[in-house]
């Protein structure tokens, strides 16, 4: 089956920053992404968990974004402008996709 090279960017970011991130991505011309829940975790600022939380301040999500290689710089610039001052982690991996015409 024919596949095409692409980049898979995963951004773990605070939930309160999610709409700011996706807005910045849209402005950078990136229009496809998915948001996955994160239950808890640990990092330099300690451990956290979603259990029983009602505060809107807690918790992170993972935004996954598959892009054509030539779009990666615009995407990273957009992501960086939002995560810069905030906690969060951005990983970029190589991948192949089916149906590249969809991107």
């Amino acid at each position: 089956m024919e596949t095409h090279k692409a980049k898979r960017v995963a951004i773990i970011i605070e939930q309160v920053m999610q709409s700011r991130l996706t807005d910045a991505m849209s402005k950078a011309g990136v229009t496809g992404w998915s948001v996955l829940p994160v239950l808890g975790g640990s990092g330099r600022s300690g451990a956290w968990s979603r259990e029983g939380q009602v505060t809107r301040g807690a918790g992170m999500v993972q935004v996954i974004c598959v892009v054509r290689p030539d779009r990666i710089d615009a995407l990273l610039d957009a992501a960086f402008s939002v995560v810069e001052r905030h906690i969060g982690i951005v990983t970029i991996g190589d991948c192949e996709v089916l149906r590249a015409e969809r991107f």
Partner: protein, 325 residues
């Protein structure tokens, strides 16, 4: 004094306080007891809707008090002024950075709706009436403190922390909208409306509050376990002193406005309580460098239990004594 003690005793042995204590104990003992996030959020929506609605019905029933508008204005002023006092107090008592101090200050200017709910149930248990619009005052006090705390930081030469998106998020955060919205629904539909949904929002209210406080105890206990180290003795003391300072200001406000005994007590409770729903979110956006462990542990792990157990009986007793109610 006697009244305080007896109120405190009744209060401490009520199902809601014991449920909170159970949650704290379970978390400290590292039990895996936990309430799913969706269920906790569902209960908080229920409580906000119910308390807002009942406030509105009470206004519909008793008519608008001349002091409603004044009380709202007073609430906004209190919420804006309290962070300045908290910030100053933290400079004296604590060893927090300016950013951390401002973030904590924002929490103490704003309010904790569960503390308010717990207080109304102590009041109704003691047969003390209060103005139905106090729930609108509570809503009015949620946001100004955030703006006030951010002003403290930007005034200090820091870059701009506020934009239109954030302002909208703060003013239209879910709990304000639900509280104000259900207040108006209660007001419009009045006692007839209440009759239709009484079996949902009145009868089971105390029970839901128990489970909600169980959850808050679990979350507070987990926070204390993992973050107890972050609070210096000075900051810890702030978590008990600030509510008393706030309550005093609330008392003065209530007496000045001439509201009922219950109204005075609720002004004290609102001023004494610290936010843990809306403000943390705003702080993560505007002051990401401030350490959330500090403000969350202080608000939920220290001040909330203090108000719940000792604070509320004290405020109610003082309000009763000074209004002769």
């Amino acid at each position: 004094m006697d009244q305080i003690l007896s109120l405190a005793a009744t209060n401490l042995l009520s199902p809601i306080i014991l449920s909170f204590a159970l949650g704290v104990a379970a978390a400290l003992a590292r039990s895996d007891l936990n309430i799913p996030e969706a269920v906790a959020k569902g209960m908080s929506i229920y409580l906000l809707f119910a308390i807002g609605f009942k406030g509105g019905v009470s206004v519909a029933d008793h008519g608008i008090d001349a002091t409603l508008a004044l009380s709202l204005v007073a609430g906004v002023v209190l919420s804006a002024v309290l962070p300045l006092i908290a910030f100053a107090l933290l400079q004296v008592m604590g060893s927090l950075s300016r950013l951390d101090a401002a973030a904590v200050a924002a929490h103490y200017g704003s309010i904790s709706i569960v503390t308010f709910v717990a207080a109304t149930s102590v009041l109704s248990g003691s047969g003390i009436v209060s103005e139905g619009y106090m729930v609108a005052v509570a809503a009015a006090m949620e946001a100004p403190a955030i703006l006030s705390a951010l002003w403290l930081i930007t005034r200090g030469g820091d870059s701009r922390r506020m934009d239109n998106d954030l302002l909208r998020e703060i003013m239209l955060n879910g709990s304000i909208v639900l509280l104000v919205g259900s207040f108006f629904i209660g007001w419009i539909t009045g006692v007839d409306g209440l009759a239709k949904i009484e079996a949902f929002i009145v009868s089971p209210f105390q029970g839901v509050l128990c489970l909600f406080l169980l959850d808050m105890g679990l979350v507070a206990g987990r926070g204390l376990r993992s973050s107890s180290g972050v609070l210096t003795p000075g900051v810890l003391a702030f978590g008990v002193v600030m509510p008393l300072v706030g309550a005093t200001l609330g008392l003065a406000t209530g007496l000045l406005l001439g509201v009922s005994t219950g109204g005075v007590a609720l002004f004290m409770v609102l001023s004494a309580s610290a936010s843990y729903i809306a403000v943390p979110a705003a702080m993560r956006v505007a002051l990401p460098e401030a350490n959330p462990s500090i403000y969350l542990t202080l608000s939920l792990g220290v001040t909330f239990p203090f108000n719940l157990t000792l604070g509320i009986p004290i405020y109610v007793a003082v309000a009763s004594a000074l209004t002769g109610g």
